[in-house]
């Protein structure tokens, strides 16, 4: 099916030519304030997917998630089917759904826009999920900083309850499903799914043992019950998959190896028009930069394509990178959560590595030693270098510390702390060496842009 044909049958999709490489599926109506109300949402074809889903077999919906090739949009990119298909078919106890709206990855703000402007997509997606995996209650775990998003979701939930789209006997189908909002309280670590479940259960937001040491969340998750946990963007894709069919969804991004659908990238840093841009998988990274109005304040130097946790890439790699989970591996980076930061030539990579390391040191939960001690050690070394007191061998030491964290921490936060530092040293080794040797940066930073911390 060609792209234009598929657009015609899409959920309220316009038939206008596509502007640049943008492919607006989730964000199509994000600029329309009425889309936040139930009437406006229904006018754009909302809730047809739920009506359709309620007439389908539960297994058919789960199968369509597999056929669509939907992958989790939170950062790891695991096939969503593993979770949907792993939920017990026979219900013996309560089933829970969780929406992970604890977006904290530096550079990412896609969930913020989805919560604020398209709350019904999430609610409809979760309700479809609630039907498909026989859920009883869905929790939307929103980070407390996102008050605007939380308020929009609250209004949407209240409207949905009033219209019998949530609660008891939804649309006369016999489905009972509730959605509650649970606010976080300021912790990056709670974006990790097991830590989020700890936090939801009223504990410190520390991660729990994972498979194979412990069962998957779909077997024993929150409150030790089967739990389906997904990112906001993953749930928001569900209405489109149900409405248009899995084949249609799988045709998006067909040029890539194994990435299907669209992805929202939050473009920020030294670009002229920072913001959220939704593109089909398979789009070149360069086009994303063009969508964001190009680089400002100088030439492009580097890019972190998927949130601060993923390795940095050079300007040359930006030219050849293709946005796709496997394709980004060719430039030794990742799609991650889609927080795409572009840096101009005046960016000091050593200071950037220091700031990134400081973030992870601040947000490390303290549970495991490699992460708790390693992140602090990295900050100490980088701070020393940035002060101009770098010692010979510091770069080697930094590499050693980072590689000792990588793969040895309890949860992925440790890896996420190590990767950007290791990548910065791998990609820009001369900057680190210069800083250690001369006690100052080899980059002429623009003072108005970067003050000395």
């Amino acid at each position: 099916m060609s792209r234009l044909d598929s657009a015609v049958i899409g959920l309220g999709r316009s038939k206008l030519p596509f502007s640049m490489a943008e492919y607006k599926l989730l964000l199509e109506h994000s600029k329309d304030p009425t889309f936040r109300t139930l009437d406006g949402y229904k006018a754009k074809g909302g809730y047809t997917a739920l009506t359709k889903a309620l007439t389908m077999e539960r297994s058919a919906i789960v199968d369509s998630v597999k056929a669509a090739g939907l992958r989790g949009r939170g950062g790891a990119g695991a096939p969503a089917f593993l979770k949907w298909g792993g939920m017990p078919k026979e219900k013996k106890t309560n089933h829970y759904l969780i929406c992970n709206a604890d977006e904290g990855e530096p550079g990412t703000f896609k969930d913020k826009e989805l919560l604020e402007n398209c709350p019904f997509l999430l609610i409809e997606g979760m309700t479809i999920g609630g039907f498909a995996v026989q859920g009883d209650v869905g929790y939307i775990y929103i980070r407390a900083e996102y008050m605007d998003g939380a308020k929009a979701v609250r209004n949407a939930l209240d409207e949905a309850y009033a219209a019998n789209l949530l609660g008891k006997d939804i649309l006369g189908s016999g489905l009972n499903f509730d959605i509650e909002i649970h606010m976080g309280a300021g912790s990056y670590e709670c974006g990790e799914e097991t830590a989020l479940m700890s936090s939801l259960m009223g504990e410190r937001g520390m991660p729990r043992l994972k498979f194979p040491s412990a069962p998957f969340p779909v077997v024993s998750g929150v409150f030790e019950k089967p739990t389906l946990i997904h990112n906001v963007e993953s749930y928001s894709n569900m209405p489109f998959i149900v409405n248009n069919g899995a084949e249609w969804f799988a045709s998006l991004g067909a040029s890539t190896k194994n990435s299907r659908g669209t992805k929202i990238f939050s473009v920020s840093g030294h670009v002229n028009k920072p913001g959220n841009y939704e593109v089909e998988f398979g789009t070149p990274l360069r086009e994303l930069l063009e969508l964001a109005g190009g680089i400002r304040g100088g030439k492009l130097k580097a890019c972190i394509p998927g949130g601060s946790s993923v390795p940095v890439i050079t300007a040359e790699d930006v030219d050849r990178a293709i946005l796709g989970y496997e394709e980004m591996g060719e430039v030794k980076s990742m799609v991650g959560s889609g927080g795409c930061m572009f840096f101009n030539e005046h960016t000091d990579m050593v200071k950037l590595a220091w700031r990134s390391a400081l973030f992870y040191a601040n947000e490390s939960c303290g549970k495991c030693t490699p992460c708790r001690e390693g992140t602090r050690w990295m900050v100490q070394i980088l701070e020393r270098i940035c002060r101009g007191d770098g010692r010979p061998g510091d770069v080697e030491l930094l590499k050693q510390v980072a590689s000792q964290i990588d793969g040895r921490s309890f949860c992925p936060l440790g890896d996420a702390a190590a990767w950007p530092v290791l990548a910065a040293i791998r990609v820009f080794p001369q900057e680190f060496e210069y800083f250690v040797e001369h006690g100052k940066s080899m980059v002429d930073s623009i003072p108005s842009l970067i003050g000395v911390p």
Binding site: P106, E145, M147, A150, I181, M183, A185, G202, R355
Partner: protein
């Protein structure tokens, strides 16, 4: 006596109160809201986070020992457990009493690149306080925070429930003036908002 023991400082937080000594301060509305929040979860423990937000509102923005004790009492949990949760999360004011308005300056990657340090230095100079401190008149608390995830508006700051960005020094001064004139504490207002969004319309 071992020197280790004499070296350690006594815990400055108030000790756990006995039940008969508790000074319960939750308003009638607060108790009702807590009951509604408890009904969202299969057990009372899960309500610790919402309970602490509620306490932060009821106790004027600061989770004192009394506030934590009251949450623990109302949720049938131990004081230490609730205190452990309260001190883990950065948005609970469990360690220092904040001023009337808490200014949270994001200094994470994108803001770092877009002048957040200049903005912070400006605030430090203007208010005469540093990270985590409160002005002597109890008006402002300054905090450097990690990513607020509004990188498209860098440098960004958060005051209460609101985000501002991109902020320059002049806009910052104007915001400070507006905040000085604001009667209500944005810290308390923030906690009230967080509690409110977790309750359904018919539960308020």
């Amino acid at each position: 006596m071992s020197e280790l023991i004499t070296l350690s400082k006594s815990n400055q937080r108030p000790a756990q109160l006995r039940q008969e000594d508790l000074k319960l301060q939750f308003s009638e509305r607060g108790v009702k809201e807590l009951d509604a929040l408890i009904s969202h979860y299969p057990n009372k423990k899960a309500c610790i986070l919402p309970g602490l937000w509620l306490a932060q509102r009821e106790y004027g923005g600061f989770l004192s020992g009394d506030a934590i004790a009251e949450v623990a009492f109302r949720l049938d949990r131990h004081f230490a457990e609730v205190e452990g949760v309260a001190t883990f999360y950065s948005l609970y004011n469990a360690v220092h009493k904040p001023g009337k308005h808490k200014i949270e300056v994001c200094t994470c990657l994108c803001c770092h690149l877009n002048g957040a340090w200049n903005l912070r230095d400006h605030l430090v100079k203007k208010l005469g306080i540093r990270h985590g401190e409160t002005t002597s008149d109890g008006m402002f608390t300054l905090e450097e925070v990690e990513c607020l995830n509004t990188c498209d508006r860098a440098p960004a700051i958060q005051v209460g429930s609101n985000y501002y960005g991109p902020v320059n020094e002049q806009q910052m001064d104007e915001l400070l003036d507006t905040l000085r004139k604001t009667e209500e504490s944005t810290v308390v207002q923030y906690a009230a908002d967080v509690v409110k969004v977790q309750l359904r319309k018919n539960e308020v």
